[in-house]
């Protein structure tokens, strides 16, 4: 299977801080549902930011769907979608207006945006509120719009940073269901979260990282079998320890 992401010899450090990643390598297969996990400060968000071009590596190489990631390369940026943990939308605009704006910036044009907006709002149960201000919505509705914005241009690779944080069970179920649909249609998912039960439901491959290093990387079933754990949470604690990591 050809890789959706290939990271080779990546080195990165924040200003006036020691190196977080040193000669880091990772490969994510196309069509997989890849989970990236680790305790606070492990480097998950930094790695996500490097893969999406929000940060620039000191050295090394990141290729997305065969194309090298460069911060201002529009071609590579149009290949992927991103659903950030923060609600990345305009609360004073309606869902349709938000999608129209982000769709245009993703390189789409009027008719295509309108068609895709109708489709997404229908799938995510937001068609009835398409013209209302997002500000008035519940947390779950905002999360669904956040997801819709990330996939409006039908990317082949989708990065998801805690896409279900703070939502109710129904919304979580709907979001996970939709992500599986996307994956079945050929979209590679790169997912990070602290919701390990949800991760077990969604991901088929996982990587656990700590202090900028990969400490486990394989198919989820195989990892659980090798380490003799019933679930991802037990495996996570076994590999990363039980001490607080955010002090």
């Amino acid at each position: 299977m050809s890789p959706a992401i290939r990271i080779e010899e990546l080195t990165f450090h924040y200003r006036e801080e020691p190196e977080l990643f040193t000669h880091f390598n990772l490969q994510v297969d196309a069509g997989s549902r890849f989970g990236l996990f680790g305790p606070n400060g492990a480097g998950k968000t930094t790695l996500m930011n490097l893969m999406t071009g929000m940060l620039t590596a000191d050295s090394g190489n990141i290729r997305l769907l065969g194309r090298e990631m460069r911060p201002h390369d529009r071609a590579v940026h149009s290949l992927f979608g991103f659903v950030p943990q923060d609600l990345a939308l305009y609360p004073d605009l309606s869902p349709a207006e938000n999608l129209a704006f982000f769709g245009a910036l993703s390189g789409m044009r009027g008719p295509a945006i309108r068609k895709r907006t109708r489709e997404l709002l229908q799938i995510l149960g937001l068609a009835a509120v398409r013209d209302k201000k997002v500000r008035q919505f519940s947390g779950g509705m905002k999360r669904r719009i956040n997801l819709a914005i990330g996939v409006i241009h039908q990317p082949r690779l989708l990065f998801l940073d805690e896409p279900t944080v703070g939502v109710d069970v129904q919304t979580r179920h709907a979001i996970i269901g939709y992500l599986k649909q996307l994956n079945e249609a050929g979209t590679t998912l790169v997912y990070t979260s602290h919701q390990l039960a949800e991760a077990e439901e969604l991901c088929d491959r996982v990587a656990l990282i700590d202090k900028g290093r990969i400490i486990a990387h394989d198919q989820l079933d195989r990892l659980l079998e090798v380490h003799r754990h019933d679930g991802l949470e037990g495996l996570f604690l076994h590999l990363t320890g039980k001490n607080y990591r955010d002090q």
Binding site: F80, F82, P84, D86, A88, Y90, D92, L93, G107, N146
Partner: protein, 434 residues
């Protein structure tokens, strides 16, 4: 281009839904310009057209004090309200206390007390001066010097502290003019009587004391077609600039909001440059500042005459007016962009933005005319972008200049805009936002 259009549309929608922000950006300058122009027009009228009430307590019983009261009236500046002097035997302090109380009661803002013996002192002094003058002409001094003690009479002028210094000073000037008139008249009569041994005829006196030279006031306008500038031409451009710069509150906090929300981060991952978003915001708010200027200038031209204020006369050079307005707007937007980039919270952007505009307006000459600034303030003034905006507008509105007359200001504004844009760009890069 489609991305830019989509971003402008988004910014316009966000702006349209910020009702408080829109009201502040459009209603505030309208109210401000009407109120300030009305206030300044009122104080101008008070000093020049409407007479200022003045309490006059005359403790003297001679002719000079009566002439002084008439002279005061003839200045055209005061409405003299006679205050009865306390009955004989009571102290001067009684009269002064009475004046003070009536000033506190706001019956008037000025009060003058003419001391007892004012006419006699004036007469003996003019006798001495006339004698001296006659001697120097080679004539016999036939004037009886009387008992000139050499001391001059002193008037006491009381004023209410709310009376601003410029008005008080012009009142003082008018009082001195009235005094000089009384003294000159007295001297003239004394000398005439000494030489001719008869009284000076009233008609000759009037002719001698009447002013023979008039002053024609001519504004040094570049186009000779312009008359004297009014308070409208002084105020409308100044407060329009102030309003333009106040977009800092809406634009600055809008940028901070985007920075703090995830939308900024998402924009960085999209196949577009964040500069499109920055540029779009600037274009949108540049349009806002232009509409503000059109609105306020329109009010000055059309509404002011209907509400009793002098009509605003627009400059003849429309291209100059449009260019300067666009540059002032661009300067305001660039400043707001800087505030938005460097502020960490919306509160910081709002508070710093608003306070800094008030300070820059004060040092830039919007509140106090720049020619009244002295010492280091004249240098500090040049660091305010509002000063250069105002100077360019004054070149057009007050001096009747055109684009070629205000090009040094235009150049300064272009440099300031470039500087502010450079600082904002540096801030965006430093904060890893672009």
């Amino acid at each position: 281009m489609y991305k830019l259009w989509a971003t402008i549309l988004k910014d316009l929608r966000v702006l349209r839904r910020d009702r408080i922000g829109v009201i502040a950006m459009f209603a505030m300058p309208v109210l401000l310009v009407i109120i300030v122009t009305e206030m300044q027009s009122g104080s101008f009228a008070m000093a020049n057209r409407n007479r200022m009430p003045l309490l006059l307590c005359n403790r003297d019983s001679g002719a000079a004090s009566v002439q002084f009261a008439r002279a005061l009236d003839s200045t055209g500046m005061f409405r003299v309200i006679p205050v009865l002097a306390a009955p004989g035997g009571q102290s001067a302090a009684d009269n002064d206390d009475g004046i003070r109380q009536r000033l506190h009661d706001r019956e008037a803002l000025l009060g003058v007390v003419l001391p007892r013996g004012f006419s006699a002192l004036l007469q003996s002094r003019t006798n001495r001066l006339a004698g001296k003058a006659l001697k120097s002409f080679g004539l016999d001094d036939t004037i009886r010097a009387g008992t000139d003690s050499g001391t001059a009479a002193t008037l006491r002028l009381y004023y209410h502290p709310v009376l601003q210094e410029p008005l008080r000073r012009s009142a003082e000037g008018a009082l001195y003019s009235a005094l000089r008139l009384v003294e000159s008249r007295q001297l003239l009569r004394t000398m005439y009587a000494a030489i001719n041994e008869k009284e000076l005829p009233d008609s000759l006196e009037r002719e001698l004391l009447a002013g023979h030279t008039t002053i024609e006031t001519i504004p040094v306008a570049r186009d000779d077609s312009r008359g004297n500038p009014t308070v409208s031409e002084h105020n409308v451009p100044a407060w329009t600039i102030f309003a333009m710069f106040f977009v800092v509150v809406s634009l600055g906090s809008g940028i901070v909001r985007e920075k703090l929300s995830g939308s900024f981060i998402r924009l960085k991952t999209l196949p577009t440059s964040y500069m499109v978003a920055v540029f779009s915001k600037q274009l949108t708010y540049l349009a806002v500042t232009f509409v503000q200027a059109v609105l306020v200038f329109g009010l000055g031209v059309l509404l002011f005459p209907l509400i009793g204020l002098p009509a605003l006369h627009l400059p003849a050079d429309w291209s100059g007016l449009v260019l300067v307005t666009l540059l002032c707007g661009a300067c305001a937007v660039s400043y707001a962009l800087c505030v938005g980039v460097f502020a960490e919270t919306e509160e910081q952007a709002n508070l710093f933005g608003a306070l800094s505009i008030v300070i820059l307006a004060a040092i830039g000459g919007l509140m106090i005319p720049d020619f009244m600034m002295t010492g280091p303030f004249r240098t500090v003034m040049k660091f305010s972008p509002l000063h250069w905006c105002l100077d360019a507008y004054y070149g057009l509105f007050l001096e009747g200049g055109g684009l070629r007359d205000v090009w040094p200001n235009v150049l300064s504004l272009v440099l300031i805009i470039a500087g502010l844009q450079g600082i904002a760009l540096w801030g965006l890069k430093r904060k890893n936002l672009i």
